[in-house]
């Protein structure tokens, strides 16, 4: 049984945290209020902290001497394994919040289950990260309710964001042969069960926010397999610029 599968799985977790952390970082200095600037920046910091632990682990498993920085800054677009949802642009604050709720709820259910992973290292990272994630969802969820159940304008904007982002959630639970094996080996949870838990948590929030859950739609992206939307390249161009222009530069 190949270790490549495990490495790929760890990279999926790491890259989703990394790319969303980078995306949220774009809000620093631009958020509608100082509190939200801090909220989004702190969430970004936690996500990047998770990515660091996971990328370090992936590098060790791989055994080619690549550390967290080399994995973050020197891989090409198609080598990234993040879900396509997290690379979607920030747009307005409401759109960012909807993306965050969709992902936080997913990550919370995922980390809760990964705490009992057969992979001790993943279990330890998840036990640590689940606490941050719970706090993130408290923040994003309370904003979703405020905006959804707010003014006509704020409601329309977050409902529109929900419609726009919904197709990207399919990928989170689309079971591939690799996912079945990950589940069979006790490394990660089964995606059907994960989807149910995510759905239940999300539906409760959407109801409170007076939002309508969109119908499931076909999708064409698959970030977890390296098939990304056009946005990832631009994120990497910015994130990797320094290491590409000045290889090996350090603080």
């Amino acid at each position: 049984m190949s270790e490549a599968l495990r490495i790929d799985y760890v990279l999926q977790l790491a890259d989703s945290s990394l790319i969303l952390g980078q995306r949220l970082g774009e809000w620093v200095g631009h958020a509608p209020a100082l509190e939200e600037d801090l909220g989004l920046a702190n969430t970004a910091l936690d996500l990047i902290g998770q990515a660091r632990l996971l990328l370090t682990y992936a590098g060790e498993l791989e055994g080619r001497g690549r550390d967290e920085d080399q994995l973050a800054f020197l891989r090409e677009e198609a080598e990234f394994r993040n879900v396509t949802l997290v690379e979607q642009p920030n747009r307005d604050f409401g759109h960012t919040i909807v993306r965050q709720v969709l992902f936080d709820a997913y990550q919370l259910e995922l980390f809760e289950r990964l705490q009992s992973s057969s992979d001790g290292r993943l279990a330890a990272v998840a036990a640590k990260a689940v606490k941050d994630t719970r706090y993130h969802l408290r923040y994003s969820g309370s904003w979703l309710v405020r905006l959804g159940d707010g003014t006509g304008e704020s409601h329309a904007r977050v409902q529109d964001a929900l419609e726009r982002l919904w197709p990207f959630t399919r990928e989170l639970f689309e079971e591939q042969p690799a996912d079945l094996e990950i589940c069979a080996r006790g490394i990660g949870p089964g995606l059907a069960e994960l989807r149910q838990a995510w759905s239940a948590r999300l539906d409760a929030l959407l109801t409170e926010a007076t939002l309508t859950r969109p119908a499931d739609a076909p999708y064409r992206w698959f970030g977890r397999r390296g098939v990304h939307s056009e946005h990832l390249g631009y994120i990497l161009a910015e994130m990797q610029y320094l290491q590409r222009a000045h290889p090996g530069a350090r603080w």
Binding site: L45, L47, V125, A127, S142
Partner: protein, 169 residues
């Protein structure tokens, strides 16, 4: 609180030294009071092994804390100083010592009110946070995130002063 009990004289000495190493972001509290020093093992060669737990995944102070711990122990005559990151069990704000909580409150930061691993925290029903200045329980959250990853911003409805609250995780 620590997971292991110091049994040898060098280990007791090391615990005392780390009791003087301040947290870089909240200098009023030591790394021992914060509960992030998980274990200390003296080695026969005169070195020491230290297990440190990071507080928040994204806490930028983690690197500085590690440097300060190594520096303090090296100055105390330990060589080599080997630092290990302890992820499991994850650090919790429950591990802040009683003395640490009192120091936080005196410094103007309300200490964590409850354990966040409880289901209660998921349902937006946190225990009341007391104002570190006047002791009132009539306080409200201004911002879920504050000036550092470990703090939120609150306000007292009685004395009207804003204050920082050490988040429960």
């Amino acid at each position: 609180m620590s997971t292991s009990v110091a049994t040898t004289e060098p280990e007791r000495r090391a615990w005392r030294m780390l009791g003087d190493v301040a947290d870089p972001e909240i200098p009023v509290i030591s790394v021992v009071d914060l509960g992030i020093v998980r274990e200390l093992h003296a080695r026969p060669d005169g070195g020491i092994e230290v297990g440190l737990s990071p507080t928040y995944s994204g806490c930028p102070a983690t690197v500085v804390i590690r440097e300060r711990v190594v520096q303090a122990l090296e100055q105390g005559g330990f060589a080599p100083v080997i630092v290990r990151e302890v992820l499991s069990p994850p650090w919790s704000s429950d591990w802040i010592s009683t003395a640490g909580r009192e120091r936080l409150a005196r410094y103007g930061i309300a200490p964590p009110a409850q354990a966040v691993s409880s289901v209660r925290a998921l349902h937006h029903a946190p225990a009341p946070v007391r104002c570190p200045r006047c002791g009132s329980a009539r306080t409200s959250e201004v911002s879920a995130f504050g000036s550092t990853p470990c703090k939120a911003l609150h306000r007292c409805e009685d004395c009207r002063e804003p204050f920082e609250y050490f988040k429960c995780i």
